[in-house]
C-alpha cells in the first residue's frame, strides 16, 4: 500500500509556556521550540504498522519553510521512506483551503492508496483533511481511531460521543484524519535523526506542483486572522495566582467558604 502522510511543524505545546507578543496578534515565538504536530505522529506510526503488515511505502509531506524539513526527518527516522517539502514564498499565509490545495497537487503527482492527516494541528481547525478529500473527490473519515486494512478497502473505526465505537468500510483511495490514541508512536532519538540526516528531501514549489500562486498563500486566503488574545475574565471566573502550594491553599479556602468542603 502506498501511503502519504501530511504532517506539520508546530510549536511544542508540552514544552512551551505561551505568552502573547507585544502586538497581541500572535504568540511570542522567540523562545518557542517546535516539533511534529502530535496527531501527525500517530498517523505516521499507523502508516508504519500498515506497511509492516502489508508492504508498500510511506511518504511524508509538509507545507512549510526550510525549517519544516526537521519534522520530515524526524518522521523518516521513525520509519517513513520518503519525504517531500512543499515550500514556496507564494505558500506563505495560506489558510486551510490553501494548504489543502497545495497538498492536493502533490497527491495527484503520486499514486497513493491512502492519505492520512492528523485530526487537527496547533490551530485546532481540523479542516485540511476534509477539504483535501473533497478537492480530490476521495471518501473521507475523520477522527479515526482504528484501521483494519483489507483488499481494496479498509475498515476504519471512529469513536462516537458517549464512548461508543463505530466501524465503517471505506473504499480506497481515501483520506483519513487520525485521532491520538490509535496506537503508541515509537520513540525517535537523536541517533535516528542523524541516520537520515543526509537523505535527500526534494523541495517543490508552486511551479513544480502546477499550483496557481495566486490561488494559495496570503493572496488566495479566504479566511484571515484578525485578532489573537487571551479572553477577558468573565463574571464568576477567577485566576488563582502564586506558587502551586499557594494556589492549592487559596482553592481550599474558597471551597471551604462556599461550603464545598
Amino acid at each position: 500500500m502506498e501511503i502519504l502522510v501530511c504532517v506539520k511543524r508546530v510549536p511544542d505545546t508540552a514544552e512551551n509556556e505561551f505568552e502573547l507578543n507585544s502586538e497581541g496578534n500572535d504568540l511570542d515565538r522567540d523562545d518557542l521550540v517546535y516539533s511534529v504536530n502530535e496527531w501527525d505522529n500517530y498517523a505516521v506510526e499507523e502508516a508504519i504498522q500498515i506497511v509492516d503488515n502489508l508492504g508498500g511505502s510511506i511518504t511524508v509531506v509538509t507545507v512549510g519553510d526550510d525549517e519544516a524539513e526537521e519534522v520530515l526527518r524526524r518522521e523518516m527516522a521513525m520509519g517513513a521512506n520518503n519525504g517531500v517539502l512543499l515550500s514556496d514564498d507564494a505558500f506563505e499565509g495560506s489558510d486551510g483551503r490553501g494548504i489543502a490545495a497545495i497538498l492536493k497537487a502533490e497527491v495527484e503527482k503520486g499514486n497513493y492508496d491512502l492519505i492520512l492527516t492528523g485530526a487537527q494541528a496547533d490551530e485546532g481547525a481540523g479542516q485540511v483533511g476534509g477539504m483535501l478529500a473533497a478537492m480530490l473527490d476521495y471518501p473521507y473519515a475523520s477522527l479515526v481511531n482504528k484501521i483494519e486494512p483489507a483488499d481494496g478497502k479498509i475498515k476504519v473505526g471512529r469513536e462516537i460521543e458517549g464512548g461508543n465505537q463505530e466501524m465503517n468500510e471505506i473504499e480506497l483511495p481515501c483520506v483519513l484524519s487520525i485521532q491520538t490514541g490509535i496506537n503508541e508512536p515509537r520513540y525517535v532519538g537523536i541517533r535516528g535523526i542523524r541516520k537520515v540526516a543526509s537523505v535527500e528531501i526534494p523541495v517543490k514549489g508552486a511551479g513544480d506542483l502546477g499550483v496557481d500562486a495566486g490561488s494559495v498563500g496570503e493572496a488566495g486566503a479566504k479566511t484571515k486572522r484578525v485578532d489573537y488574545f487571551v479572553p477577558d475574565l468573565g463574571d464568576g471566573a477567577e485566576m488563582l495566582e502564586g506558587s502551586t502550594d499557594e494556589i492549592i491553599e487559596k482553592l481550599i479556602e474558597k471551597l471551604k467558604a462556599k461550603g464545598g468542603l
Binding site: 511544542d12 508540552a14 514544552e15 512551551n16 509556556e17 523562545d31 521550540v33 516539533s35 521513525m78 520509519g79 503508541e184 508512536p185 515509537r186 520513540y187 525517535v188 532519538g189 537523536i190 541517533r191 535516528g192 542523524r194 506558587s243 502551586t244 502550594d245
Partner: protein, 689 residues
C-alpha cells in the same frame, strides 16, 4: 598377613585389573568435560568485547576478599557460613581428590610437598574438612529441601523450581565425602587387623568414625569396600565435574573468573561498545543488547556463574514493590536461552528471531529497574545487572520501544535540557524567590567568576518543592565561606538517568554542553546537592574539576570549625538517615551526612536496618519519576514503613528525588501525622549558627 590391595593393583574376579578403570575414567571424564566447556565457551566467543584486564591489583584484591575470603557470604548468616564451610572444604579436598585419581593408577602416590610433615598436617585437615562439608551438606539439604526459605522459590512465570537440582548436588557432594572417607577407613581397619597398624585418621573425623565402625568387619568385605568406594568416588568425581557446567553449579568452576573480572569501579556505565569512542558512535549499526550475542562475554559469564541464591532479588526494591522484575531471573532466563541455543548434544547453534525483550524478557521488566545497585552489592559472585539493564534499554531506545510516559520528558530534555519542558531562561528562577533574594545573591557564572560551581540540576532548579534545596545549599555554601556560582541557563540536565535509560546520544549531547559550560566557567571545584548529578559528573563525565556532595563540604567545614551547629531544635523527635543510592552505594559517601547530623547536639538519631550499602531505594530518580510502572506498592511506602519500624519520626535524606518519593510515600501510607521527611540541607541550614 599383608596390607590391603590398592585399586591400582587389584584384580577384579581374580583376573581383571581395575587399574584399567583408573585410567579410563579420567580419560572419559576429562574428555567429556573439555567438550562441554568448549560448547559453553562458544557463545562467549561470539559475544561483544569487554575490557576486563585493567585495574589488576584491584582485581586480585577482589579475588582474595570476595572469592577466597567469601566476604559477602555472611551477609546472609546461616547460608553464608554453610557456604564458607563447603567452599573451604572443596579447596582443601580438591588436592585430595586429584591425588586420589592418580592413586588409582599408581598406589602410594603423594603430591610433591605433601610427603613430609606438611602431608601429615594436610591429612588431618582434609579429614576434618570432609567431615565439616558432610555436616554442612546435611544442614543445607534440610534447609533447601524441608525448610525451603522463601527466597529460593521460583514464581510460576519464571519456570521450574530448582530445589531438586540443589538437593541432588548436595547428595553428590555428600557421596564424595562419604566415599573418600570410607576408602580411607576401610584401609585403616584392614591394616589394623592384619598388621596391627594403629595409624588412625584424625579423631572424630568422618574417616575415624568409619574406621571405628569397620573395625570388626571381615577382611574380604573391607577389601571389597575399599575398591568399591574408590570407584564410587572416581565416578562421582568425574560425573560431578561434567555435571557442573549443566546448571547452577557451574559457579564452582566459573566463580574464580567471574570475581576476577567483576566490576571494579562503582557508579559508572559501560560504553555502548568497548573499543568504540564517543565520536565513533554514529558509525555503529545497532545500539545496545537486542539479541543474546549482543551481551559482552563477561555478561555471559555472569549468566553461567549465577548460583541461584536469590540474594539479588531479595534485596531488589523493584521486586519488593511487586514490579515485574526479579534480577535473579534476568540471569536465569538468559542462561536457559544460552543452553537452548547452544545445546551440548548437537554442535548446532540456534538463533532466536525475536528481540530478547520480546522473547525472554518484557519491556516493563527492563524499565522497572531504578539502577539502585542493591543486587550488585549483594552478589557473592560479582554478577552485574546495571550495565545489562542499560544495554537492554539502549537496544529498546534504538528500536523506538520507549514507553509513552518517558517519551515526553526525553523530548523535553532534547529541546530544553530539562525533563519538564520548562524554559532554559527560568532555570535560575529559584534564586529570585522574594525572601531569599532580599538577603542573598547567587553569582551567574555566565557573567561572573567564582572558585566553585554549584551544579543545581533539573529537579532542584524547576520543581517548586525542591527549589528550597537550592536556596538552602546556597546559604550553607555562603556561611561556609565558599566562593561559588551557578551556570544558570547554561546548565543542562546532568543526564544521569538519560544515560541509564539508554538514550545514549541525548546523554552525549547533554554531557558535551555541560562539559563545555563548566570548563568555560573556569571553576576549580564543583559541588552539588543532587547525588544523581554528583554521580554523572564524577563517574560518567571526564575532564572536569573535582566534584563533591554538599554533605561532604558540610562535614569538612564542621571538622575545621568553619561551620558551627546549634543544639537540636526538636529534641523530642527521632531522626533517621536514609542513604540515597547514588550517594551511598554508587559513591561510597555514608559517613559525611551522619557526621554532620551528629554534630547537632541533642539530636537523636537511629539507624535503619537496611542502611549504608544495604539501603533500600525510595523509588528512583530522574526519568524514573515519569515512568509509570506496574507495581503493587510504592518502594517509598515500604521505606517509610521501615523508618517507622526503626522508631523514627523524621527521615533525613540527601537527595531531591528521595525527598519527592518519600514525601509522596508518607501521604500514600497515611502517615502524615507521625512521619516527616527533610532534606539534609534543610536540617543543616536550620541548625547553622
Amino acid at each position: 598377613m599383608s596390607m590391603i590391595i590398592a585399586p591400582a593393583d587389584y584384580l577384579l574376579f581374580g583376573f581383571f585389573p581395575t587399574v584399567i578403570f583408573s585410567f579410563l575414567l579420567p580419560v572419559i571424564g576429562v574428555g567429556l568435560f573439555t567438550y562441554i566447556i568448549a560448547r559453553r565457551i562458544a557463545p562467549l566467543v561470539r559475544a561483544n568485547p569487554d575490557y576486563r584486564f585493567d585495574n589488576i591489583p584491584e582485581r586480585i584484591k577482589n579475588l582474595i576478599v570476595v572469592w577466597l575470603g567469601q566476604v559477602r557470604q555472611p551477609r546472609y548468616m546461616l547460608a553464608g557460613v554453610l557456604h564458607i564451610i563447603i567452599f573451604a572444604g572443596f579447596l582443601i579436598l580438591s588436592i585430595r581428590s586429584t591425588s586420589l585419581v592418580i592413586i588409582g593408577m599408581s598406589d602410594g602416590f603423594v603430591l610433591p610437598g605433601l610427603d613430609g610433615s606438611l602431608g601429615t598436617v594436610y591429612n588431618v585437615m582434609k579429614d576434618y574438612a570432609a567431615t565439616a562439608v558432610l555436616v554442612a551438606c546435611i544442614i543445607a539439604a534440610y534447609r533447601r529441601g524441608i525448610k525451603k526459605p522463601a527466597r529460593y522459590a521460583v514464581p510460576e512465570k519464571y519456570g521450574h523450581d530448582h530445589t531438586a537440582e540443589a538437593v541432588f548436588v548436595l547428595g553428590i557432594i555428600a557421596t564424595l565425602m562419604i566415599s573418600e572417607s570410607m576408602f580411607e577407613a576401610s584401609a585403616v581397619a584392614y591394616n589394623y587387623q592384619t598388621l596391627g597398624d594403629a595409624h588412625f585418621p584424625a579423631i572424630f573425623s568422618l574417616a575415624w568414625i568409619f574406621a571405628k565402625i569397620l573395625g570388626f568387619a571381615s577382611l574380604e568385605s573391607l577389601q571389597g569396600l575399599h575398591i568399591i568406594m574408590y570407584y564410587v568416588h572416581d565416578v562421582t568425581f568425574f560425573f560431578f565435574l561434567c555435571f557442573l557446567p549443566l546448571g547452577k553449579h557451574f559457579h564452582v568452576i566459573t566463580s574464580i573468573f567471574n570475581v576476577f573480572f567483576m566490576r571494579v569501579k562503582k557508579g559508572n556505565i559501560k560504553p555502548v561498545k568497548y573499543g568504540v569512542s564517543d565520536q565513533e558512535l554514529d558509525d555503529l549499526e545497532s545500539f545496545g543488547v537486542k539479541k543474546l550475542e549482543d551481551f559482552t562475554w563477561k555478561h555471559m559469564l555472569d549468566f553461567y556463574s549465577c548460583a541461584d541464591c536469590g540474594r539479588c532479588s531479595d534485596q531488589c526494591p523493584a521486586n519488593a514493590a511487586g514490579r515485574p522484575l526479579s534480577p535473579r531471573f534476568i540471569t536465569i532466563k538468559a542462561r536457559d536461552l544460552i543452553f537452548k541455543n547452544y545445546p551440548i548434544k548437537s554442535g548446532v547453534i540456534y538463533k532466536s528471531d525475536k528481540l530478547l525483550v520480546e522473547d525472554i524478557y518484557t519491556a516493563d521488566e527492563i524499565w522497572s529497574c531504578t539502577t539502585c545497585g542493591a543486587c550488585e552489592q549483594e552478589c557473592p559472585l560479582g554478577i552485574e545487572y546495571i550495565d545489562k539493564m542499560v544495554d537492554l534499554r539502549r537496544g529498546m531506545v534504538d528500536e523506538g520501544m520507549v514507553p509513552q510516559s518517558l517519551q515526553k520528558p526525553l523530548k523535553a530534555l532534547e529541546k530544553r535540557g530539562n525533563p519538564y519542558g520548562k524554559m532554559e531562561k527560568k532555570r535560575a528562577d529559584w534564586a529570585k524567590e522574594k525572601t531569599f533574594a532580599q538577603t542573598h545573591t547567587v553569582k551567574d557564572l555566565g557573567k561572573d567568576v567564582a572558585d566553585t560551581l554549584y551544579f543545581v540540576d533539573s529537579i532542584t532548579s524547576y520543581d517548586d518543592n525542591m527549589q528550597e534545596i537550592a536556596r538552602r545549599t546556597s546559604i550553607i555554601l555562603e556561611k561556609a565561606g565558599v566562593d561559588f556560582g551557578i551556570l544558570g541557563k547554561g546548565e543542562k540536565d546532568s543526564g544521569n538517568e538519560v544515560l541509564r535509560f539508554g538514550e545514549e546520544m541525548l546523554y552525549q549531547e547533554l554531557k558535551a554542553r555541560n562539559t563545555e559550560a563548566i570548563l568555560e566557567s573556569g571553576v576549580k571545584r564543583i559541588v552539588t546537592a543532587d547525588p544523581h548529578a554528583l554521580n554523572a559528573l564524577k563517574k560518567d563525565y571526564t575532564g572536569l574539576p573535582p566534584v563533591k556532595h554538599i554533605s561532604e563540604i558540610v562535614a569538612e567545614k564542621i571538622n575545621s570549625g568553619v561551620l558551627t551547629m546549634k543544639p537540636c531544635k526538636n529534641r523530642d523527635k527521632v531522626y533517621v538517615y536514609h542513604d540515597p543510592c547514588y550517594l551511598g552505594r554508587h559513591n561510597s559517601i555514608y559517613e559525611s551526612p551522619r557526621q554532620a547530623m551528629d554534630a547537632i547536639a541533642g539530636l537523636t538519631r537511629v539507624e535503619l536496618e537496611k542502611s549504608r550499602d544495604r539501603s533500600f531505594c525510595c523509588g528512583g530518580g530522574g526519568l524514573m519519576l515519569f515512568y509509570e510502572p506496574e507495581e503493587e506498592t510504592r518502594m517509598g511506602v515500604l521505606r517509610v514503613n521501615m523508618a517507622a519500624e526503626a522508631g523514627a519520626n523524621v527521615i533525613v535524606t540527601a537527595c531531591p528525588f528521595c525527598l519527592v518519593n518519600i514525601q509522596d510515600a508518607i501521604k500514600v501510607a497515611g502517615k502524615e501525622d507521625e512521619m516527616e521527611v527533610l532534606d539534609f540541607t534543610q536540617l543543616i541550614e536550620e541548625h547553622l549558627i
